[in-house]
Subunit: 223 residues, 2 copies
């Protein structure tokens, strides 16, 4: 099997999948899709053949002469977990699985769309200077609710979002906290989330997946 | 086990879960959360204890003296499918499961957030008359991409999004088409999606889940 990840260094959805691939210790080819250059390479015909939604990430799986194209980070990560169960992304009990998926979706459909390039561009084109305020407000509110959800429902002794091992929820949390800082959200109000981020920071797969470590990251002075 | 669904008649995310519960033939108590009245009951303290994100749906599961609260439609539906496997929401092969989850997420995180009440209110407060244009543009683009994704990757002979039985993808598609019409998207451009909608319309569980069939739907003249 050959894996190829179509990714952008700063895309938080691509970041989640990079963490997943590194946790499963799966080698993959990195293919950069520049979301900024020339109005965005994601709109190119070749990328839209991979994903009509014109988004990253897309995981391209070559196996037995066939090619499978999976977009949407949740679909990619659930597929990875079904095909490569170790280490697991979900707890074994149905209640724990429900809680972890709920926290991941809280970010996936409840926060990230508010910092999406296309949304912010629409606002910026009509209300100069307001796009950042929009992102800050919604990402901030979402993280505040997430802090409560993670804090209140955790099994005792948890160091991650759910228990003492990383789960899908942590793969969503870490890139979203980065997004919060980027939009000027004061993340010091979220001690539980920051604790989880510190625990993840100890894990090699999380560090290797950071935006700055990607081949398409520009040099520091141009970020 | 007792199931209680906190729902709003016109919420497309609640609608997906209603279809899921009816497909699994699970009796449940319907608890209305009025998203409109008095600024929105979802912001009440009692509802935010159920879901800090202040959203519907929330599924409340009482079992063996314990209460489990699940929010986020994907987390609820995956839980339902793990606990009550018949009829299944996902195909059995990993590739098919990936495709179905991808299509469902395409709606869940890629389209629905653009017609979300809170987003539209933010825009409406600043740009009168533009919120509807925003929803129409993004929901329209998303459905156009979905038409292509459903059409191109279907197993031969499919009547639903994936094959000849309903899957998670159909539970997301039907409420989203309704949303498209509501925002003025010309859905006649999406013949594949309309075909799937017709196939779903033959199924009792889909009909019972429609907004107008819910106890909190206002009489027709006040909709």
């Amino acid at each position: 099997m050959n894996l190829r990840l179509h990714s952008y260094w700063r895309s938080s959805s691509s970041w989640r999948v990079r963490i997943g691939l590194h946790l499963k210790k799966l080698p993959f080819e990195y293919r950069a899709v520049d979301l900024v250059k020339g109005g965005g390479e994601q709109w190119s015909e070749s990328h839209r053949r991979r994903n009509p939604m014109a988004q990253v990430p897309v995981l391209e799986v070559e196996e037995g002469g066939r090619v499978l194209l999976i977009s949407q980070s949740m679909a990619i990560l659930e597929w990875l977990d079904e095909r490569f169960p170790d280490p697991p992304f979900l707890p074994r009990d149905p209640e724990g699985r429900a809680r972890v998926r709920m926290l991941a979706e809280h970010v996936n459909s409840g926060i990230q769309p508010y910092q999406n390039n296309a949304t912010l561009k629409w606002i910026r084109d009509r209300l100069r200077g307001e796009a950042e305020a929009f992102a800050r407000e919604f990402v901030g509110q979402g993280l505040e609710a997430l802090e409560q959800a993670v804090r209140e429902g955790r099994p005792p002794g948890s160091t991650f979002c759910h228990g003492t091992h990383q789960t899908l929820a942590d793969l969503y949390l870490v890139p979203q906290l980065f997004g919060g800082r980027r939009w000027g959200v004061d993340v010091s109000r979220f001690p539980t989330l920051l604790g989880v981020e510190r625990a993840c920071g100890e894990i090699d797969a999380f560090r290797k997946s950071e935006p700055e470590a990607q081949p398409d990251a520009p040099p520091p002075e141009r970020r």
